[in-house]
Symmetry: C2
Subunit: 248 residues, 2 copies
């Protein structure tokens, strides 16, 4: 079915089941090939890309809505989702649905609650829905042409993620179970888009007290084999809730 027909059919149903004027948009980060990537979908028959998003059922809370929406696109459950801002400007839609009647669900004013998620790249199976013809990971260095205000939602999510590196742990969903300190540092450098001093990184990270040093090292390569670490999940979860060990 073509895009316009599908939109109009979905609209009629939407008025019955969803909270009006409210949507959810998800900025899903994954780490792969030493690159930070974001999950995007392409609107059918258009050169317009969107963040995976949806609406809030009258029978669910926001976190349930965000989890349901993400699950439907990625098949992934138990994702670490973080609400970061409500996008509420009056002209958010930028006229995408101008050609439709004013009663169209999608043409209403929507305030959108932004969530970001960090997912394990390998546990995700991308799923297309009936208004998209592509669902892909894109490097944050090569973002596509976003519809509406999705580019600013992405930008704000990345800024928030960068700030949270100062007070929340990161990496559990992004790195393999066992990793070296240089690999962890690389992840931070890619998110922050800057080089970090190796000694400072090492000291600060150990002070956070969320790592377990293993009795193994990474084999292969010409250099001295680097030590392997894994996250101390209990301490990691605690720091996620209460903040890293650098507070007052």
């Amino acid at each position: 079915m073509e895009f316009n027909k599908i939109i109009e059919e979905k609209s009629a149903k939407a008025w019955d089941i969803y909270i009006p004027n409210l949507s959810v948009d998800c900025v899903v980060f994954g780490f792969h090939d030493v690159t930070l990537k974001v999950l995007v979908t392409r609107l059918k028959d258009k050169d317009l890309w969107a963040l995976p998003g949806g609406y809030v059922l009258k029978t669910e809370n926001l976190m349930e809505a965000a989890n349901r929406i993400l699950y439907s696109r990625t098949g992934a459950e138990n994702i670490y989702l973080q609400e970061f801002k409500v996008f509420s400007e009056l002209n958010r839609s930028g006229g995408v649905f101008d050609e439709f009647p004013d009663t169209l669900w999608n043409k209403q004013r929507f305030l959108s609650v932004g969530f970001y998620a960090l997912v394990d790249f390998h546990q995700v199976n991308l799923v297309m829905d009936d208004i998209s013809d592509a669902c892909e990971w894109k490097s944050i260095e090569e973002l596509p042409n976003f519809m509406m205000d999705h580019r600013s939602i992405f930008d704000k999510a990345l800024i928030t993620l960068r700030k949270q590196l100062n007070h929340k742990p990161i990496g559990y969903n992004l790195l393999p179970e066992k990793f070296t300190m240089p690999e962890l540092q690389k992840l931070y450098e890619i998110i922050l888009a800057k080089k970090l001093n190796r000694g400072n990184f090492y000291r600060k990270m150990l002070r956070y007290d969320i790592l377990i040093k293993l009795d193994e090292s990474r084999k292969g390569g010409a250099h001295k084999a680097p030590d392997l670490y894994q996250f101390d999940i209990e301490k990691y979860e605690k720091a996620l809730k209460e903040g890293l060990n650098n507070g007052w």
Copy 2:
């Protein structure tokens, strides 16, 4: 006019001008008499207290709504408002409006966007509205009986404020223009509800590089007169946007 009548009259108008199912609640902190206080209002004829809140006009964004709502209760403008969470549980209202017809505006499901604000206690003139018979500052040590989920909104705001002490500056709206280091430390201790080591506090605060040491000291008192400081507003504003000088 009595409470029920007013609610029903306001309801009819509300359906026309506001975004449905969405509200704003503000946790307004002030600092006075070495006590952290929060602004609360009492529902007319009820022993139920509420955070100052309201709805979002179809013609405004969320920040405009929060500013308008706060201004109407405090007369204060240019308040530092921070959105911190959307409260979206299904049974938030806890049956406060059970006795009214189902078409009542207030009886709908509302998702509420929580903002917190830090205000200068002296610049606030409390204003009553027509469904309240009291508008007061209460010490966070002696909170009243809150309606709906307002107690959890307050709790979450306080937790957020505490966490933000680790990466954002604080104090500009809460302290007088000139203050001593012990006075600033006291503010932190009251917000965190714990004692801090004086030397550590001093060193960490200076490292943030947001203070200007003045050529004056606080006169009076038996001890050596303590130095006076003020915030370097330019650096303070920068740290508010970009985070304190303790990042990666």
